[in-house]
């Protein structure tokens, strides 16, 4: 086992050092070959446009990859798509900027764009949007900040209620027009013994509640700020409305599956298509889920907006997504890319990857032949018409956290990530606070992080 025959020379310090060095070199070489050399050695001359994408739908991702190949062939520039799980969007974006590796083109949601714009990380899109025509965009789709536009919206993402019109018909129910009627409908549809519930609604911390369960607040006329960024949530005019909404939601939560605070986006999607709940809060993606998992429901569902407390204007929640161009060394090349994207109608193709979910915010899209003739759009045209109707501001209020206060502001992102609204719901549902106390606590927290801009 041990080798004693080797010459004494092997044991001199000289050779030991040599041995170590050889080992080190061999090890290093192995590691390097296994891991690849740093990218700088392969630096290319042509710009690489890096796209940050937080849409995880496989069809969308596939489309983006093909688009990258096409652009390379046509314009010679490399486009690199990096898909990130939705929940990690903020972390990845801010980290990359901090590290000096910002993305050139970003696919994400609006209030984050305002935050980035405030830090000077985005290139203004005013020119491009004006070329398309500001009037082509539906109500509240464009958000002006510091006198310019920073995000090009591709998706209204209205949150509305889907309901089983066949069950409504069976029980002789009509679309409720105020909150009393709504509770009546819930009572009639709720059958816990048979594991059937009236409604699936989210209440816990997260974007699903901030987007999926704030419409009742908007319908009740709740506002967070006045035009000077003063918090008015607990003012004599607004506070009773919030309290009324919280009391109403507490009652409604009894008609949802057990564990309302645990309801996730998954539950909101799946519960409707597998017959667990008669209504659910969601958007077009739920229709795709029906088509994928339970196609027989395709003609048994319908959609409605959220009713107001006493009749009157109904509400939907706006949950926009859009494109931004980062302020990087590649901004010019990226602008060229985006112009190509728009002029070759690839925006339409993109929106068609999840056709019923990416609800176009531009009037012209609805008239576009390519878009209209998509089979799914055709099949669900009734639903599309209702969706288009939501853009009629006489009938429907498009509400959102993003619309609080006089203009676009980083405050909106803060309301989202601090989860003040879900926290109010949790306090009330867990009976830790009365609705009035919950409102006070929320107002206090909002005051702490609001900046006057």
């Amino acid at each position: 086992m041990s080798d004693h025959q080797s010459s004494p020379a092997l044991y001199t310090p000289m050779s030991r050092r040599r041995l170590l060095r050889t080992l080190g070199a061999a090890g290093g070489a192995t590691l390097l070959s296994a891991t690849g050399l740093p990218r700088q050695i392969h630096a290319a001359k042509a710009p690489t446009i890096r796209i940050f994408n937080n849409e995880t739908d496989p069809d969308t991702i596939a489309f983006l990859k093909k688009m990258a190949t096409d652009y390379k062939a046509e314009a010679g520039a490399t486009v690199k798509i990096e898909t990130v799980p939705v929940m990690q969007t903020v972390t990845k974006l801010t980290t990359s900027i901090k590290a000096g590796k910002p993305y050139d083109f970003i696919i994400y949601w609006t209030n984050l764009a305002i935050q980035l714009a405030e830090e000077g990380q985005l290139a203004p899109l005013g020119e491009i949007i004006k070329e398309v025509g500001v009037d082509d965009f539906g109500p509240r789709a464009l958000r002006k900040f510091k006198d310019d536009y920073w995000i090009y919206p591709y998706d209204y993402n209205f949150n509305y209620l889907l309901y089983r019109k066949d069950w409504f018909a069976e029980k002789g129910l009509a679309v409720p027009n105020d909150w009393n009627e709504f509770l009546e409908v819930c009572k009639a549809l709720n059958d816990p013994k048979n594991k059937q519930y009236a409604l699936t609604l989210p209440f816990g911390n997260g974007v699903h509640t901030n987007w999926g369960n704030t419409a009742f607040l908007w319908a009740a006329g709740v506002e967070f700020y006045d035009d000077e960024w003063n918090v008015i949530l607990d003012s004599p005019d607004i506070k009773p409305r919030v309290v009324k909404t919280l009391e109403f939601l507490e009652k409604v939560s009894q008609y949802t599956p057990p564990g309302p605070l645990e309801t996730s986006l998954k539950d909101m999607l799946i519960n409707f298509s597998n017959g667990t709940s008669a209504m659910t809060s969601y958007t077009g993606r739920a229709i795709h889920t029906i088509e994928d998992r339970n196609p027989e429901l395709a003609d048994k569902y319908a959609i409605m907006s959220y009713p107001g407390p006493d009749g009157g204007k109904r509400a939907v929640t706006y949950g926009d997504d859009g494109f931004s161009i980062g302020k990087t060394s590649n901004t010019e090349a990226t602008v060229d890319f985006f112009k190509w994207f728009l002029s070759t109608e690839r925006l339409i193709d993109y929106q068609l990857t999840v056709a019923l979910h990416y609800q176009p915010p531009q009037y012209s899209t609805y008239k576009n032949e390519k878009w209209r003739s998509n089979p799914l759009i055709q099949k669900h045209w009734e639903t599309i018409e209702v969706m288009m109707d939501f853009m009629n501001t006489d009938k429907t209020l498009v509400g959102s956290i993003d619309f609080q206060g006089p203009q676009a502001s980083p405050n909106h992102a803060r309301i989202m990530t601090s989860n003040v609204i879900p926290k109010m719901y949790s306090q009330v549902l867990l009976k830790k606070m009365t609705p009035s106390q919950a409102v006070d606590a929320a107002a206090k927290e909002i005051r702490e992080f609001t900046t006057r801009s």
Partner: protein, 277 residues
């Protein structure tokens, strides 16, 4: 009490305990595996025993993500990390045991700090630094960072092994003219091999499970690792419990296989004195 009755009673209690521990330890894994291959209807109306099979969840998961790529990346990273850590840690542990250099204990204790700071807060400055030297988004960066948090455990375990290695064996080798390094590689390591396999397993698991560093340091799809891949699925709206369970099963497979294969050495290795305080 009649000794025979006592023996039977003892056997009975032992039997119950054995079954109890088995169920307690293994049932959740069993549940994960069959949930991944169960037909969707029966997911929500569960049966205890395997019921109707369906590969649908597995198929969906494979179509939603690039599992083969993630697998490959995780394997390469974990293997490279394990090798690198072993190479770095073995001499370190040896030096700790045999030499009398001052400040060593301090440094070892300092390495425990790796476990005391939230990984996410550490990953960000590391990423910034890596970008500066152009090494971000590379497998090498992942391997290096993984090695940082596998090192403390590796040092601790190897130290235990070396400490219990009788010096006489080494001494006789020195008398025969063997150098220190030769002694390590020719004599000590082969003898502590079962124990080392233990260390290999632990290090491999640590690297395989990492999520935070993969998230922050890696941006290219081709370099993503499995836990990151699974998290992407959870966020994807189309994934359901069946798919999550199928994905989880696939992540565990290599670990469980490695473990099953090595468990013989593992158990033996531990009783060789990994734990001395």
């Amino acid at each position: 009490m009649n000794p025979t009755i006592w023996t039977w009673l003892r056997r009975g209690i032992l039997g119950i305990l054995i079954v109890g521990v088995t169920i307690y330890s293994l049932f959740p894994m069993y549940w994960m595996v069959i949930s991944g291959i169960r037909e969707e209807r029966w997911l929500f109306d569960p049966l205890l025993f395997p019921g109707p099979y369906s590969w649908q969840s597995v198929k969906t998961i494979l179509s939603l993500t690039d599992f083969p790529t993630y697998y490959l990346n995780s394997i390469i990273t974990a293997v490279a990390t394990t090798i690198l850590t072993l190479v770095v840690v073995t001499p370190m542990a040896y030096a700790l045991v045999r030499s009398r250099l001052p400040g060593m204990m301090l440094m070892v204790r300092a390495m425990l700090f790796a476990y005391m700071f939230p990984a996410l807060l550490l990953a960000i400055p590391v990423y910034i630094f890596l970008v500066k030297i152009g090494l971000d988004d590379t497998r090498l960066s992942l391997i290096l960072t993984h090695s940082t948090f596998t090192m403390p455990l590796g040092v601790w375990l190897m130290w235990g092994f070396f400490k219990n290695f009788p010096f006489e064996v080494e001494e006789s080798a020195f008398i025969d003219g063997c150098s220190r390094i030769k002694a390590i590689y020719r004599i000590i390591m082969p003898l502590t091999l079962p124990g080392m396999l233990t260390v290999v397993l632990f290090l491999f698991i640590l690297s395989w499970s990492d999520f935070v560093f993969s998230l922050i340091l890696i941006t290219s799809d081709e370099l993503k690792t499995l836990p990151y891949g699974l998290a992407s699925i959870d966020d994807a709206y189309d994934a359901n419990w069946g798919e999550l369970m199928a994905g989880s099963t696939m992540i565990c497979m290599p670990l469980l296989l490695l473990f099953a294969f090595l468990s013989k050495y593992f158990i033996r290795g531990l009783s060789m004195g990994a734990v001395k305080s």
